[in-house]
């Protein structure tokens, strides 16, 4: 049994920051080294991405978007994660990490063209180090590991973060990715956003045992943390990324949160979950929680809260207007344009056939 890699506490820089219950300790909170401006900015971003989420929901109801997957309740993870990483660290999101993309600097109106059916890939992933949103569950996890292995082979110090939901951990892709990451000690941080619902399947019917503890079986550490505390997320991701950066391999963070809205705009959660469940999580809503903490620390006053709200309203209205005036691409280019760098003849014929069928209509 000598070959078995034992995961020992000394190898885990994240765990000392947290209580056994997954709460960030007061000491760790006090030594994050963030300036008051940076602390306020985390709040500002959470409000901004939530308000944008609500606006996208409205736009879908108004027929301006085909589909929307709300992330209300998970803002602390979106904002804390991006703040913890270097801008050159890669993020491989699922379909719900719109807010992370915003925090990476991608124009939300541009991102929304995806949901408006105007573009298959509205942003350049290499510019933002933010991979495309993916709909197939867990497909992004092996991609992230591959990217991390590449970074290691090139002797770079970029870290890759892969984020996914609790449901994704039931997929074979997830196991394969975790196993590869462990074997190759890839510089990757796995961030599970355990929002307790895989569409309509509750956690208890999806997962037996602890997701965080599964990391042990792959030869690296894992921890379950409070995912509705933006500073807890920031601290955990930062420590796990630093560990990966210095060559110590992967880390699994299971951030406990709650999907407060529907799975997507095609879903009606009142058919499968109770209001009391939602009420229990309402009190843990990451935004009021963090606001109260900032107020308690004397870091934010009513005037700056009002200013943030004003700024966010203006930004959201501008997003709405930019989206609605986004140019509609020619159908042929939109569908065939970005598939091949050097399209084969058969493909060009198909495109031509498609375009002439449009003209004849």
């Amino acid at each position: 049994m000598a070959d078995v890699v034992r995961v020992v506490a000394a190898d885990d820089p994240v765990r000392p920051l947290f209580s056994p219950a997954g709460e960030l300790t007061a000491d760790a909170r006090g030594t994050l080294g963030l300036s008051p401006d940076e602390l306020r900015d985390l709040y500002h971003k959470m409000v901004w991405i939530r308000r944008t989420d609500q606006e996208a929901l409205n736009l879908q109801r108004q027929g301006e978007l085909g589909l929307w997957g709300p992330y209300q309740g998970q803002e602390a993870i979106h904002v804390g994660t991006v703040a913890a990483l270097r801008p050159t660290d890669w993020i491989f999101p699922s379909y719900r990490e719109f807010g992370m993309g915003m925090c990476r600097g991608i124009d939300p109106a541009e991102m929304l063209t995806l949901f408006r059916g105007l573009s298959h890939g509205p942003w350049d992933p290499r510019r933002y180090h933010f991979a495309p949103l993916v709909i197939p569950v867990a497909s992004q996890v092996p991609h992230a590991v591959g990217m991390a292995m590449g970074s290691r082979f090139k002797h770079g110090d970029d870290v890759v973060l892969s984020t996914f939901g609790d449901g994704a951990t039931s997929k074979g892709d997830w196991h394969e990715a975790m196993n590869f990451a462990g074997v190759f000690r890839a510089p990757v941080v796995f961030l599970c956003q355990n929002n307790r619902w895989a569409i309509s399947v509750p956690l208890a019917k999806q997962t037996a045992g602890s997701i965080a503890e599964r990391a042990q079986g792959y030869g690296f550490p894992g921890i379950r943390i409070d995912g509705n505390d933006v500073l807890a997320v920031l601290a955990a991701v930062r420590a796990a990324a630093a560990r990966a950066r210095q060559g110590d391999g992967p880390y699994l963070i299971e951030a406990m949160t709650y999907r407060m809205g529907p799975h997507t705009t095609s879903d009606d959660p009142t058919r499968y979950r109770s209001e009391t469940d939602l009420e229990r999580w309402n009190v843990k809503d990451p935004i009021p929680r963090y606001r109260e903490w900032l107020q308690g620390q004397g870091l934010i006053d009513e005037a700056s809260l009002a200013a943030i709200n004003r700024e966010v309203e203006t930004a959201v209205e501008a997003t709405r207007n930019r989206l609605k005036s986004a140019p509609v691409p020619a159908a042929g280019e939109a569908i065939f344009g970005r598939v091949y760098q050097h399209p084969p003849d058969s493909f060009l014929e198909e495109r031509q056939e498609f375009e002439s069928s449009l003209e004849s209509n």
């Binding site: 606006e55 409205n58 879908q60 109801r61 108004q62 027929g63 301006e64 978007l65 085909g66 589909l67 408006r116 059916g117 529907p262 705009t265 095609s266 879903d267 009606d268 009142t270 109770s274 209001e275 009391t276 469940d277 609605k324 509609v328």
Partner: protein
């Protein structure tokens, strides 16, 4: 200002229609961008549609209960800031609504591909049906070779087997001799769902009592004389609140998932209101913090709002106990009310009228009314219900002007 017509979008990936549940605006009203316009129910969910424009509502194109096709006009709004022009803006520049494109509904309502039942499929031993359908057919004694499939490619569905197994009369189209079919949507559907949930999940029992309303009526007379009339409802609510304070368990919910009883702190009294749409239960929040005057004022506002259909949904949810005034509009003495889940108790008041009562050994004509309470027996036993009812009667009988 120019009129713009908002057409029903495809709200959920390939839907073709939605049923209008309720309007939240009236013609002539001003709306802001994203203000709630109406509730619609699709095959997938009940959703609120927010206004795409700010302006004045010119026309509502559908009535509650109507089925509206995706792409059909829903509401016309004289939009602020929209270009005023001779041509109506809606026609001049149709917006690109996801799901049916810019050309108006005719251009491309996205219909789900429907494969017509294929009569051309020759009956053969090569029956197309899923294993569970075959199993079902075997159990019901249905010969699948004799069934025409209505599924894709002539596949036999569960419904096909059901109709084949049912007696011919039931399977045929609804008969026309005097039957009428009413599509159940919106509030009717919500009431049905809530009531089924109540009687199928809550073991409830009902207790009755009569209270002497002499003092209550005297108090009302006195108010009337001083030009401040009050209906009995606020007294009922105030009485219930006081009795609940003494027996907080009446203000609770059963949490099946955790085997816990959730005792609610604020007392939010639902008030059952008959409206043209059906029964609505607006909620008087924090009734335990209100004086009688405020209860009267706010409950009147809620009742009026419910009847006018102008209450936001937030004011129709979150009740912790419900009051229903079954005697308010007829000679109804009492009834067996059904609990409004997830509450624990519903209190019904019958008509107040003169009735013979024995007072100090003598039969006198006194004003009185029945009270009935239905209670969740998982939470409350008969003894406690009786104590609560006793306290409620005592509260109402001790009203002072």
């Amino acid at each position: 200002m120019a009129d713009q017509t908002f057409r029903l979008p495809d709200l959920g990936e390939g839907l073709t229609e939605a049923q209008l549940v309720a309007w939240r605006v009236q013609e002539g009203a001003h709306v802001d961008v994203n203000a709630p316009l109406c509730d619609v129910e699709t095959a997938k969910a009940v959703v609120v549609i927010p206004s795409p424009w700010a302006g004045t509502v010119q026309k509502l194109h559908a009535r509650p209960g109507d089925s509206v096709a995706v792409g059909a006009p829903l509401v016309t709004i004289a939009a602020q800031g929209a270009p005023a022009s001779a041509e109506p803006a809606a026609e001049a520049a149709p917006s690109t609504l996801v799901g049916y494109g810019p050309g108006g509904p005719e251009a491309g309502i996205r219909r789900r591909a429907r494969v017509a039942p294929s009569a051309a499929v020759e009956p053969s031993t090569d029956v197309r049906a899923a294993p569970f359908v075959r199993q079902m057919a075997k159990e019901k004694g249905v010969d699948l070779a004799q069934v025409t499939g209505s599924g894709p490619g002539g596949r036999i569905t569960k419904a096909d087997v059901d109709s084949a197994a049912a007696p011919a009369a039931a399977a045929s189209a609804p008969s026309t001799d005097g039957e009428r079919r009413i599509s159940v949507v919106g509030i009717r559907k919500a009431i049905a769902r809530q009531m089924v949930r109540s009687v199928s999940t809550i073991p409830q029992f009902t207790e009755f009592a009569i209270f002497d309303a002499t003092n209550l009526m005297a108090a009302r007379e006195q108010r009337k004389a001083s030009g401040r009339p009050m209906t009995p409802l606020p007294y009922f609510i105030a009485g219930v609140v006081k009795a609940v304070r003494a027996y907080p368990l009446m203000n609770s919910s059963w949490d099946e998932s955790r085997d816990e009883i959730i005792v609610k702190q604020p007392i939010n009294v639902g008030v059952a209101v008959n409206t043209s749409q059906g029964l609505l239960v607006p909620v008087l929040r924090g009734a335990d913090k209100l004086e009688l005057e405020a209860i009267a004022e706010q409950s009147a506002h809620l009742v009026d709002g419910a009847r006018a259909g102008t209450l936001p949904p937030g004011q129709m949810s979150g009740g912790t106990i419900t009051v229903t005034n079954v005697g308010a509009s007829g000679p109804v003495e009492t009834g067996t009310p059904i609990i409004n889940p997830p509450e624990c108790c519903v209190v019904a008041f019958g008509a107040i009228k003169p009735r013979p009562m024995v007072v100090n050994g003598q039969v006198l004509a006194r004003s009185g009314a029945w009270i009935s309470i239905s209670v969740d027996h998982r939470i409350v036993d008969g003894a406690l219900a009786t104590e609560f009812l006793t306290a409620l009667v005592a509260e109402l009988e001790s009203i002072r002007a």
